[in-house]
Amino acid sequence: MAGKMRKAADFTPVMYGKKRKAADSTKDRSKSNKKPNKRNKILCGGGGSDDKRKRKTGPRLPAPLRKVLGGTKRSTDSLNDSDENISSDEANDFYEYEEPLPQEESGKNRRFDVVKNYLLDPSDPVEEDENVSSEDDDNKDDYDGVSKIEKSHGWRESSEQLIDEFEDDERHLRMLQTVSGMPSEAFEGKKKKKKNLVISEAYPESEFNPSRDVLNGNGQISIEELLEPLQGKPGYTEIRKLIREDKNSTSIQAPLPRVEREMLERKAVYEQSKKDITKWEPLVKMNREAPSLFFDEDTNLGFSTVGAIASGFEPRTEFEKKMALLVNDDKVKEAHNEDGSKLLELNKISAEEYLEDRNHIAKMRSLLFRHEMKSKRIKKIKSKTYHRLLKKDRLKSVSAEMLMDPEAAKEEARKQEFKRAEERMTLKHKNSSKWAKRILQRGLEAQDEGTRAAINEQLHQHALLTRKMNTMKDSSSSSGSDDSDEDDVDENSAGSDPDEASKLFAKAKEKTLKVLQEDDEVPTSGVLSLPFMVRGLKKRKEEAVEEAKLALQEYESSLKELQDTGGEENANVGITSGRRVFGAAKRDVPKPKPSNKMKTDNYYRNSDSEDDLDENIDVGNGMKNDLQKDVNVDSGFLNEDAEVRRDSVFKSFDDVVRDPGPKTSYDVAIFASGTWKKMKKGKRVNANIKKSTVVGKPVLQNQEELSEESDTDSEGQMVDEILSAGPKPLYELPSQEELVRLAFAGDDVEEDFGKVKQEILNEEIPEPEKPNLLPGWGQWTSVQRKKGLPSWMLEEHEIAKRKREEALKKRKDAHLKHVIISEKMDKKAEKLHTKTLPYPFTSKEVFEQSIRVPVGPEFNPSTSIGAMNQPDVVKKSGIIIKPIKFEEVNAHEKTEEHREQKRSGNNQKTNKRKGAGGKRAGVRPVVVKS
């Protein structure tokens, strides 16, 4: 075949040159390479043929030329074609050396599996058909023939035969074309049938592959034949019997595939289960539709008391068992049962034991008592010195300990040093904290006692911590300084007390004297012994002494003053019936003026506020103000003021301490008071005017209103008589505006109202803004100038207008000219409405109609309240809901029941009875309840 092919190729070099290249290129492939190609081909099947067809659109001869070329060539090139197609997959291989067809393809060697060729063959003629284009039923016959021939005569012959057949076909096609005048393609359709052609015989005939015909006439091997050799063997008869039976029975079809079988099974099961479940339907439906479900109402749950629960208790753990053993001890039980006396016997304790116990308790008690007494006594001691001593003692003991133990001392010193370093580093106590900063920013004066003390305390702490000293040795002195510091604090805080002050002064004097008397011990060693240091120390010392002297003088003078003022103050106290104000004020007599001012200032403020509170007391006001002026001049006479001022004075006391800037506030106060006074006067005048004008009013009134008006005036009189004996009150006249309005009330009210309505409407639904023209906005300026506003602007405006009109139309007062109904939402009332429709409802109307009837006991007869407010599920707590049980319910009964339930509603007894009857006990499902 290959040789032939080559020959054919020689005949048509132009036509196939190109293809040859490709075809030949494939031939250099090794067998192993070839094989997969072919397999590939097989796998491709129809798809491969499609490819070929496409490829054939390349350069080819026109039909008339082909005709001329004649039959044999045609057939060969078709064959060649097929060959080319086989290898077309690797068409890009360009090795042009020829190789003979592989052996297996040539069919020479029987070792090769021939299948591929055979499988290829049927497709090849198909390719040819494309060109030849017409094949009819006889083609098929041909093929059968071909196969037969092949079987009988071998490969080569068959191929020749095939070619002949094709020549015939060609001729037939040509004939058809000439007869019908249609192109060959028209007859192509029929060939498609052949594509499905399957050759059932997989293997070519050979001695290894005997065909049925060869082996047997009908090609069947019967069981009998197979059995023959077994005849006479032991199990033969049995087998034969079996086979006979088999023969008698009809043949069994092969079982269905598993998937299908299972599907069928499932189907059947489903049908069955459906039938099974549908029987529940009426029951479930009934339960669903029932307005409320009842569960086992008649079961007796017994008492669920603690006792009942405890009675069922059984000991489980070790401990419980032990306890139970003790509790359930026969002896104890017996004792309990019989009498309490035996229990006592069981409880016996020996006399010694008892005595010991008692003694111990007594001892402990007495100890406790004594300790308590002691601590109480100590706590009661108020003496500061005592506590100081106590503290000292404590410290001493500590220090003694330290002395005894140098390690401890060292440790302590180290600690102290560390603390100092830390403090110096962090300055934690030097008002650097946020809190302290804030307080300082606001000013210490503004703070109250406590904070100031706290600040001082902090500073003191800082001083303590940063002081350089050997802590242990100077501990006593430090404590002394501590004390002095405390004293200072005291002075600051409680300086107001005069006695305390004098004491303090005395103390200070003492101390300064001490300092003066102290002669300096010039250190003999260390840095301080250096001459310049000594000089410096001396200088400082002198300065200190001078200062101390000055201070002493000051102290003395102030002490004197204090004593003097103390006397004065006492006198004052006598006058003012024990007011503490002056004590405090006189304390700083050296600068009395500011304090006076402060006081007066406070007076003003207080009196002002008082006036605000009760305006009624106008009688005294003038006087008061005068008095206040007096106060300005001379604070000494304050005491003689009216009683009203007493508490204000008290207040002022506190304020004196705090007020930092007396002068300015004082001025302001005066000013304020002046204006206030003026204001007051003005008011009065106004009031007078008003009252006087009222006289005329009744004259203007109608006859009807006369009585009332006269009343008002008389009322005024009366009240005035009651309240004050001042100038005769005068009448009130409605203002001119009001009179005018009354007189012209009937004019144009409607128009006014219309205007008002329009205004309100505009406010609630604002009118759209007019499109305002910006040169060059939205359009070129020139265009704008010509055409006016851009259309989209106008359109927008129109839309907004229309919307507004619609909104206006929707308003409730749209058709009521004389009514304005506000459409403003009340935000507070929003919570009284639901935001969204509650779940099952889909329309607002239905929902609103469903809530129109109140269901409370105030609105309904007691017979129907129960039904109205019945819960969905009626169940005693503690009842276990059992799963639903089947029971026969027909549809009719269901509705009946339904009705009945509705009717009975609160009438639960009937239901209960029914439950007791066992008919519907515990069968109501919860699961299905929606």
Binding site: E704, S707, R741, S822, D826, A829, T834, E848, V853, N860
Partner: protein
């Protein structure tokens, strides 16, 4: 002619005709059904339909049960004057009525003459058992109307403009010269409500425990009398008025103004709920029907108008002056003018008021206040020389509900009721024009987006805030000024971001919308495929 006062049961014992009875029952039950149920057939949801059907059935049964019980709970029927022949009811004088009625009723006709202490104003408790009378010149009196016993009488020596009972007879508020005061029954001054100022008219909202007042400057105050909290304080802006009435149905306070307008207020909004122009001249009096649907106003232009408050329309305009108006429990309208009281009645039931009765007082008496006594056919009249009481048959509700108001209340009952009513106190926001809307779906609100400027302002503020935060002091070269500035910028960007993102989102949404609109407009479907080309070119 005859005064027919029915107090007993007038049920004829006839052989019962089933149909008739059931019809009657149905008619009665309708009242208890409070309107129609929803149309269930239109509902799609079967389950809901079922549930609602069940509920409706229960409602129907309840209504029927209530209708059945009604005849036991409401045994008495109200009577009224019936004219025979050419007689007219308004010609019937009090004397002739007195001759017909029983002694107890005839005791309700009297005049109390206190000429010095000026025109009197009256107020009854809810049960009608007690009356407070206040003389202009400071005379305050609480009277037990059952036995005509003067409970307490005090003289405050100050102008008294109005008096009103609080929740029970133990407390009453008076509008005095400068402030309103609250007194207890013993005449002890409990409170002075200075915030109200010089009050002209007082009203008490029983269900909300609010004391409403209008003062000389046209300021409306609401004060909660339980906790003393000032709930509302509004300037009406319509000038001085002393025409004020609370609508018993919904607690809305109505004010009549000199411009002829009537405004209605609630304590939680500063603007009036309704403003209606009722008269061309000043409004002189105002009254509400107990069912809250009718309002009567009178103007100085000699007109009395009856309004339907559901539609805000005039039902009827009656000529006549009125200084004071009042509706009775049964819907009779008393009109006081000068020294003459006229009673208008809606006898036909068609909301058409006509003359029913009249009563001339002694010459020179100026009527200042008319008020019907609840649960009695009695009209109290406060006038310039004291107060009077006349019989108006058919004015009062014949059956009282002891849960609402019990004229025969014992001390214990009163105490219990006080507690109960305190527990049932309604918050002030429940006052609205249609209280039956409570619980319904909130009306849709206009979504108000913040304007661009507002948004920008917000952003600016946020940025400022961020800038203000002090930087932490860092170490190891992280405190460089460059790093700090970078960090600051980052912060600013971070705060800006959400604002910008939101804006972007909105812009995009707007863009999409516009695009959609454009697309919708564009082309028929057959030409859609060319659309793209068109946009590109």
């Amino acid at each position: 002619m005859g005064a027919k006062e029915d107090d007993g049961i007038h049920e004829n014992i006839l052989p019962p005709i089933e149909q008739e009875i059931s019809d009657e029952l149905n008619a009665k039950a309708k009242k208890y059904l409070r309107g129609e149920g929803a149309d269930l057939k239109a509902l799609q949801d079967k389950k809901l339909k079922g549930q609602l059907a069940v509920r409706e059935e229960i409602y129907g049964k309840s209504a029927k049960a209530a209708a059945k019980i009604e005849k036991w709970l409401l045994p008495s029927e109200g009577g009224y004057l019936e004219a025979e022949g050419i007689e007219k009811t308004w010609r019937i004088r009090q004397e002739s009525i007195a001759r017909e009625v029983d002694i107890l009723s005839s005791r309700n006709q009297y005049d109390i003459v206190v000429p010095e202490l000026g025109p009197y104003t009256l107020d009854f408790t809810l049960s009608g058992r007690f009356m407070a009378a206040a003389g202009r010149k400071g005379h305050l009196a609480v009277v037990d109307m059952k036995n005509m016993n003067l409970v307490k009488e005090i003289q405050v020596r100050e102008t008294v403009r109005d008096v009103v009972f609080l929740h029970n007879e133990h407390f009453f508020a008076t509008a005095q010269k400068k402030y309103p005061y609250i007194y207890n029954r013993e005449g002890t001054e409990l409170h002075c409500l200075k915030e109200h100022g010089a009050v002209l008219r007082l009203q008490f909202l029983r269900n909300h425990f609010l004391l409403a007042s209008i003062n000389k400057f046209g300021q409306l105050h609401y004060q909660d009398v339980t906790m003393g909290e000032m709930v509302g304080n509004f300037r009406t802006g319509f000038g001085r008025t002393d025409v004020m009435q609370v609508n018993p149905y919904n607690g809305v306070v109505a004010l009549g103004h000199s411009g002829g307008t009537v405004t209605m207020w609630k304590p939680t909004t500063s603007a009036p709920l309704v403003k209606m122009l009722c008269h061309p001249g000043p409004v002189s009096a105002l009254a509400f029907h107990p069912n809250g649907h009718l309002m009567a106003t009178s103007g100085k232009e000699k007109k009395i108008k009856i309004w339907d408050l559901r539609k805000f329309e005039v039902l009827q305009s009656i000529p006549g002056n009125a200084k004071c108006l009042d509706f009775s429990q049964k819907g009779l309208l008393a009109v006081g003018n000068g020294s003459f009281v006229q009673i208008l009645g809606d006898l036909s039931g068609s909301e058409n008021y006509s003359r029913y009765m009249g009563h001339p007082m002694a010459k020179g008496y100026q009527i200042g206040k008319v008020q019907f006594r609840p649960y009695e056919d009695v009209l109290g009249i406060g006038h310039s020389t004291g107060w009077s009481s006349i019989l108006i048959p058919g004015s009062g509700e014949p059956n009282f509900d002891s849960w609402v108001a019990n004229p025969f209340e014992t001390t214990k009952q009163r105490r219990e009721k006080e507690v109960r009513s305190l527990l049932d106190k309604l918050p002030p926001e429940t006052i609205m024009l249609n209280p039956s809307k409570i619980g319904s779906v909130r009306p849709a609100r206009k979504k108000e987006k913040p304007t661009k400027q507002e948004r920008e302002a917000d952003m600016e503020a946020a940025i400022e805030d961020v800038k203000g935060i002090a930087m932490k002091k860092k170490t190891k070269g992280r405190n460089k000024s460059s790093k700090l500035t970078k960090k600051k910028q980052e912060r600013v960007a971070k705060t800006k971001r959400p604002f910008l993102e939101q804006q972007l989102k909105e812009d995009q949404a707007a863009g999409k919308k516009r695009q959609k609109l454009n697309e919708q407009v564009e082309l028929p479907s057959s030409l859609q495929r060319f659309a793209r080309k068109k946009t590109t070119t």
